[in-house]
C-alpha cells in the first residue's frame, strides 16, 4: 500500500484486502488437471528486429573502424558497442531497436570525429 501522502492514499489504505474464495485454488486445479501439459515453444526462433539491430550496429561499427583506422579508437568503439548491445536488459523491440541503431550511429560519429581530431593533432606533433 502507498504511503499516506495524500487523502486518497489514506482512504484507499482503509479498504481491506479481500481474500480469494477458499475453493478457488481447487476449482482452478480441477480444470488444469484435465488440460494437457503445456507445449514448450521451440528453443530458438529468429527475431528479425534483433537481427536487423545487430547487423546495422555492426555495420556502423565496421564503417567507423574503416574511417578511423586506429587501434585505440577501434578498441574503444568495440568496447562501447559490446557493452551497449549485450547489456542484459537490452531487449530490442521495434522502438528500442531504432534507439539502439541511432545510439550506435551517434557513438560511431563521436568516436570517428574524435579519432580524426586525434589523428590530426598527432600528425602535427610528429
Amino acid at each position: 500500500m502507498r504511503e499516506p501522502d495524500d487523502e486518497l492514499a489514506r482512504l484507499f489504505a482503509s479498504l481491506p484486502t479481500v481474500s480469494a474464495p477458499a475453493s478457488l485454488h481447487d476449482d482452478v486445479m480441477t480444470v488444469i488437471d484435465r488440460l494437457p501439459a503445456p507445449t514448450l515453444a521451440p528453443g530458438w526462433s529468429i527475431d528479425w528486429v534483433e537481427v536487423f539491430t545487430f547487423a546495422s550496429s555492426a555495420a556502423v561499427l565496421a564503417w567507423q573502424l574503416h574511417q578511423t583506422a586506429s587501434w585505440l579508437t577501434a578498441a574503444t568503439a568495440l568496447r562501447t558497442w559490446t557493452s551497449l548491445f549485450f547489456m542484459p536488459t537490452a531487449w530490442p523491440t521495434p522502438v528500442s531497436g531504432l534507439m539502439w541503431f541511432l545510439l550506435a550511429g551517434g557513438v560511431a560519429l563521436v568516436v570517428a570525429e574524435g579519432g580524426s581530431a586525434f589523428g590530426a593533432v598527432n600528425d602535427k606533433l610528429t
Binding site: 484486502t17 488444469i32 488440460l35
Partner: protein, 193 residues
C-alpha cells in the same frame, strides 16, 4: 521427493510448469490467487464475477505459460491477463457493471469486505466508507480503475503499471492524475470527503 513450498521462486515454479509439473502451477495459484482476485474485484466490483475472472485468468496463464519469457514479474503478466479478461467481460455486459445499483439500495455485494469491528457504530461507519469508496471507484472508467488499483493497492511503479495497461509511462502518469481527480469528484459527490 522434491518439495515446492515457499522456497521456490516464481521463476523456478514457472520453469517447472513449463516442463509439465502441474504441482508447480498449483503453488503459483496458491501464492498469487489473493492478489489476482483483488485486482479483478477492484475492476469489476462483483465478488462472483471477480471469482470467475480469476479462475479464467489462471487457466489462461496455464495455457499460455509455454510462451512466458521471464521478462516481467509473474504478477505483472497475470495482471495483464486479468485486465484483458475484465475488459472483455465489461464490454460484453450490456449494462456498465452490475455493481452500479442506485444509491441507498444495498445489493449485499460488499458485505464480505466490511471489517467486523468490535464497536458496532465504528463498524457501521467503516462499512459505509468502504462501500462508498468502492461505489465511487466503480463510477470511473475501466482504465482509471486499473491504474488506481495498481498504484494504491499493488504499490506498483509507473513502469510496471505501463507494462500492465499497455501505455507509455508518460500516458500512465497522465491517466493516474486524471483518475485521482475523477475519484475525488466521485467521492465528493457521495459526500465521502
Amino acid at each position: 521427493m522434491v518439495t515446492l513450498g515457499n522456497t521456490a521462486s516464481d521463476a523456478e515454479l514457472i520453469r517447472r510448469t513449463q516442463a509439465g509439473d502441474k504441482r508447480a502451477f498449483s503453488e503459483l495459484v496458491k501464492r498469487h490467487q489473493d492478489a489476482v482476485y483483488n485486482v479483478a474485484y477492484r475492476l469489476v466490483g462483483d465478488p462472483e464475477m471477480a471469482r470467475d475472472l480469476t479462475q479464467e485468468a489462471f487457466i489462461s496463464m496455464y495455457r499460455g505459460i509455454a510462451s512466458y519469457r521471464h521478462e516481467a514479474r509473474f504478477t505483472t503478466w497475470a495482471y495483464v491477463i486479468v485486465r484483458n479478461l475484465c475488459s472483455t467481460r465489461i464490454k460484453k455486459n450490456a449494462r456498465e457493471m452490475a455493481y452500479l445499483t442506485p444509491e441507498g439500495e444495498s445489493d449485499g455485494k460488499l458485505e464480505h469486505v466490511a471489517a467486523m469491528d468490535a464497536d458496532p457504530v465504528d463498524g457501521a461507519l467503516r462499512h459505509e466508507l468502504q462501500s462508498g469508496m468502492m461505489a465511487a471507484l466503480m463510477t470511473l472508467s475501466m482504465s482509471h480503475r486499473l491504474v488506481l488499483t495498481l498504484y494504491y493497492f499493488e504499490a506498483m511503479g509507473y513502469e510496471e503499471i505501463a507494462t500492465v495497461v499497455g501505455f507509455p509511462v508518460g500516458t500512465v502518469k497522465t491517466h493516474l492524475h486524471r483518475a485521482k481527480a475523477a475519484m475525488r469528484r466521485a467521492m465528493q459527490a457521495k459526500e465521502l470527503v
